[in-house]
Amino acid sequence: MKARRSTKNVLAPLIVLVVLLIGLELIIKAFNISRQVLPAPSAILSVCAKEFKVNIWSHLIVTLKVIITGFIVGVPIGIFCAALLSQFKILEKAFSPYVIMLVTTPFIILVPIFMLWLGFGLNVRILAVILQTIPIVMLNSLSGFNNVEKVKLDLMNSLGATKVQTFIKVIFPNALPQVFTGIKLGGIFSTIAAVSAEFAGAQTGLGNRIMYFSSFIETELAFGCILIIALIGITLFNLTSMVERKIIIWKK
């Protein structure tokens, strides 16, 4: 039963993809659309396969490094800050308006300023990813930490538990579903931030390659890079979901 469901989960979106690709291919061929406007899926695949080693691989590694470093640093900081805010109401009152502000701030607009401080290396982009990831993880975790059944807190009070004990035994595990929502969104935000930062100013990375290939009207390669970025986002999301299912085993 379970196996059949998971095959369905993989098969259904795959069918959509195949239908979409064949449809696009047919439309492009039928209306004779120029490759400068929209390259055919088959052309994207064949050109990218040929050029992958020389023109894409090293940039993919750079972008992955930025996303993963930023994600791994940003997620725990976001959870930790949310924990602090949830346990000290005065901090929450003082900071929560700014958290929402930070969620909506596109940090790529600050990339040129960061460059003045940190130079042109990867660190600028990693910083942009971290700053974009922290607030969204924080916002979701915070709503989880604040959303505890009162009767569970009463239980801990009846045992004379300390604040730390209550947080570890009740508040944190209770909030895990929302924390994971935050982490999943954090993965998406990390990907967007990394590529945007590469747009704003970088000589390497997939974001930079999209601009570079576009300027030479290498539309197949440009679209190829866009698809690879989408694939990174999906993979990060699914990996997090997998970890979530392994950890939250009590909810079935």
């Binding site: 239980l155 801990m156 009846s158 045992l159 595990p173 085993i249 009590w250």
Partner: protein, 264 residues
């Protein structure tokens, strides 16, 4: 010097609400002797939960003092005293992310009780309620009655002298509730804990306790104490005896009068 295990003196609890202060309970005075089984019964809103939550140290009285084994507390129950209490909630209140065993270990962890002796206490309690083979299950995998049994023994793993029970079987159906009442009585006979039990079910109160404290609303207070002179061990068959029904009528009338008062 009284020989009460638990004593409440002039206890009052006031909540601050939007419409000003609201007196939840006032002028609460009673004592419970060691090994006694006392029930508080009354309509909803009479503050019976407030009283037991103050006894458990979950909330602090606004006025008055609580005396445990001769020690007076006016400003809430400290942690050292909570070590002697076991609180049982209306819902089973198990933590869904822990297995049954982990749930039972919770009080031991909080009170820093380590060692073989305490693990054995978990095993024997599980055996007592026939749930040994469910130790590694998660709470959602158990039936309502089983969950509530675990909720009861969780309050006993640290071997407290006093059990505070806040409508513990209120969410169960009548058959399950009566069965758990009988199991509770046999646990009480064996362990000789001091028990304060809250319920809105009059016959449950009579079946279990040696004294029933009847409460009223607006403001919440104790209006009458009814001594239950039925032999022990008690059984469900007693519920059809004349004496039992007399008690039931007496207490229901007391509560009924209250309800009339409320209508006026």
């Amino acid at each position: 010097m009284s020989n009460f295990k638990i004593e409440l003196e002039n206890i009052e609890k006031t909540y601050l609400t939007k419409n000003g202060p609201l007196i939840a309970v006032t002028d609460v005075n009673f004592g419970v002797e060691e090994n006694d089984f006392v029930t508080l019964v009354g309509p909803s809103g009479c503050g019976k939960s407030t009283i037991i939550r103050m006894l458990g140290g979950i909330i602090t009285p606004t006025k008055g003092k609580i005396i445990y084994s001769g020690k007076e507390y006016t400003n809430g129950i400290p942690r050292e005293e909570q070590r002697n209490l076991g609180f049982i909630f209306q819902s089973h209140n198990l933590l869904p992310w822990f297995t049954i065993r982990k749930n039972l270990e919770l009080p031991l962890n909080i009170f820093n009780l380590t060692g073989e002796k305490w693990q054995k206490s978990i095993e024997s309690l599980l055996q007592m309620v026939n749930l040994s083979e469910h130790a590694e299950s998660y709470p959602t995998e158990l039936s309502g009655g089983m969950q509530q049994r675990v909720g009861v023994i969780r309050a006993m793993v640290h071997n407290p002298e006093i059990l505070l029970m806040d409508e513990p079987f209120g969410e169960l159906d009548a058959i399950n509730r009566e069965q758990l009442d009988i199991e509770l009585l046999s646990i009480w006979e064996k362990t000789k804990k001091t028990i304060i039990f809250i319920t809105h079910n009059v016959s449950e109160a009579i079946l279990l306790s040696s004294r029933v404290l009847v409460m009223s609303t607006n403001p919440g207070r104790i209006i009458e104490e009814v001594k239950i002179d039925l032999p022990r061990p008690r059984s469900l068959e007693m519920m059809n005896e004349e004496r039992f029904l007399d008690y039931e009528e007496q207490i229901t009338n007391l509560i009924g009068e209250l309800n009339l008062e409320m209508v006026e």
